[in-house]
Amino acid sequence: MPQADGGSESVTTVRRGERGTSNRAHYRAALLGVAGIALAASAWELYKAFGPQAGVTVGQTIVLPRANDGVMPHIWQMFTEFGKPVTAGTGSQTIGGAVLAATWFTLRLAGTGWIVGVIIGFALAMLMTRSRVAEAAALPWVVVSQTVPLIAIAPLLAGWGQYLHVGSWQWGLPQSVMVISAYLAFYPMSIGALKGLTSPDVYQLELMHVYGIGWWRTFLRLRLPAAVPYLLPALRLAATMAVVGAVVGETSVDLQGGVGYLIISFQQTAGLSDAARAWPPIIGAMVDGLIAAGVVALIGVLLRRYRRGENA
């Protein structure tokens, strides 16, 4: 909002500096947020208590879920489940331990996929910024690549290991999962980076021309810093998509060790005996998503100097 006025000679608002009110707003947001979560949890429990055991069916289609113990656990059961052993035998790992390890496993896959996808996406955006013809040729395909569910090829990457190898190194299932993860991460990155790199206005670009500093230095001095406000949401979206890619990738290529695999295997072993069993790996997947978003938020804090333009 500041500086919208034609320019009276006073310093306009020093950007939401008032600490006191902002603290109060934070408390309020936190409190209401907790209340919201509590409300959602109560709704779940209420439905479980009073909802129809067999769900509600209209015609042939079930429209409201079944509330019986076999499929709908209590909220607390989702969490107590973490302490139970994975198998009945003695010395078995707890579910919590298994999910923790799997969460870390998937996070690493997603992280690698994210980095690869971000690099490719950014490089493509740079190329499109450099050349209009490249942009005209590639952009429609970049857009199409995401409107179409190319993630459908995930199961098809499972067999790559048999045929791709360089010396003793062989393409493995983790590589296939990373490809899927990177593929999903690449799109938001390329679109966001293209928007950001072309965001400087004509005055700023002409100024660089006047200074006679060439494309590369203009890129480093102007385009790259100006792109930061666009890069951060792109990075966050890419991080979320990388986690989705890793989870889905694991299930579709049958890679063991991550939360995606646990989601499937817990669901299968638990069957109808333990409805809560399905939840710990799902919570693990959520945690991965939150960590990924958190990392990007941290990057945003580090780069806050370049985000001043966001509100201007």
Binding site: Q3, V11, Y203, Q204, A312
Partner: protein
């Protein structure tokens, strides 16, 4: 030596389907060293296009442009001029001081020298207290002053300004004009100044170049140097010679071509 010399400059823009627009036609103009020249005219008369030829932001279809005896391109690469646009075009992630030192930094000026120069410039534009502020903390007028300081950073002998006060309110604008007069006197730079405010042109300039559109050409040049004994200060705005200059420019604007009147800015 002259600061700027244009002769027979013509600029034709080709739009789609073989149509063309003559933006500038037969422009001959010289600007002396230390001289303040304004370009004025209605929208579309090519005054900004003319400035862009001098700045080597665009090239003429025919004719020659020379800046301090060199080609416009060479002058640009030699950092012979400073430039300010209608919008300040500051980099939001740099402080005021860092914005002003940008050209110095890009052209490899030593850090200590640059810092001293920035301090000097901040004082000149009256923003010493805001060195560490960021552009979004400044008003429009203050931002524009930073842009002017940036344009002066390399002590150019020529200053090119494209409606630098166009987005400011009248009160701020008059104050900025007075400051610009002072700054120019201190730096001794020649100025080519694009505006569509008649009083602004008359107040600032030694000569006002009046242009008309379709095709963009010069219809006349009015000498607006204050008569002996009159200072170019606030009092000048109430002076007879000032009114006279305004009148003369307005007559010239309204004669020749009044097909597409000025957009309503300027004097009433």
């Amino acid at each position: 030596m002259t600061a700027v010399a244009l002769s027979g400059v013509e600029r034709i823009f080709r739009t789609g389907k073989g149509r063309q627009v003559v933006a500038l036609e037969a422009i001959d103009l010289t600007v002396g060293e230390g001289e303040f020249v304004s370009l004025i005219g209605p929208s579309g008369c090519g005054k900004s296009t003319l400035l862009r030829q001098i700045a080597d932001l665009d090239s003429p279809t025919s004719g020659t442009v020379s800046v301090f005896g060199k080609t416009a391109r060479q002058a640009r690469l030699d950092h012979d001029y400073g430039i300010a646009f209608q919008q300040a075009g500051l980099l939001p992630w740099r402080t005021v001081a860092a914005n002003i030192s940008l050209p110095l930094q890009l052209h490899g000026v030593e850090k200590a020298t640059a810092a001293a120069r920035v301090e000097q410039l901040l004082e000149m534009v009256g923003l010493s207290d805001f060195a560490k502020s960021f552009p979004d903390q400044l008003s429009g007028g203050m931002q524009q002053r930073v842009a002017i300081a940036r344009a002066l950073a390399e002590q150019p002998k020529l200053l090119l300004m494209d409606e630098p006060f166009g987005a400011l309110d009248e009160i701020t604008r008059e104050r900025m004009q007075s400051e610009l007069v002072r700054i120019c006197q201190e730096s001794g730079a020649a100025v080519v100044f694009v505006t569509h405010s008649i009083p602004e042109a008359v107040f600032l300039s030694d000569r006002v170049v009046v242009m008309s559109p379709r095709p963009g050409r010069i219809v006349g040049i009015v000498s607006t140097t204050p008569v002996a004994g009159v200072e170019r200060g606030e009092a000048y705005r109430d002076d007879e010679s000032f009114f006279h200059g305004v009148q003369e420019v307005r007559h010239l604007l309204h004669s020749g071509h009044a097909t597409d009147g000025p957009r309503g800015e300027g004097a009433r």
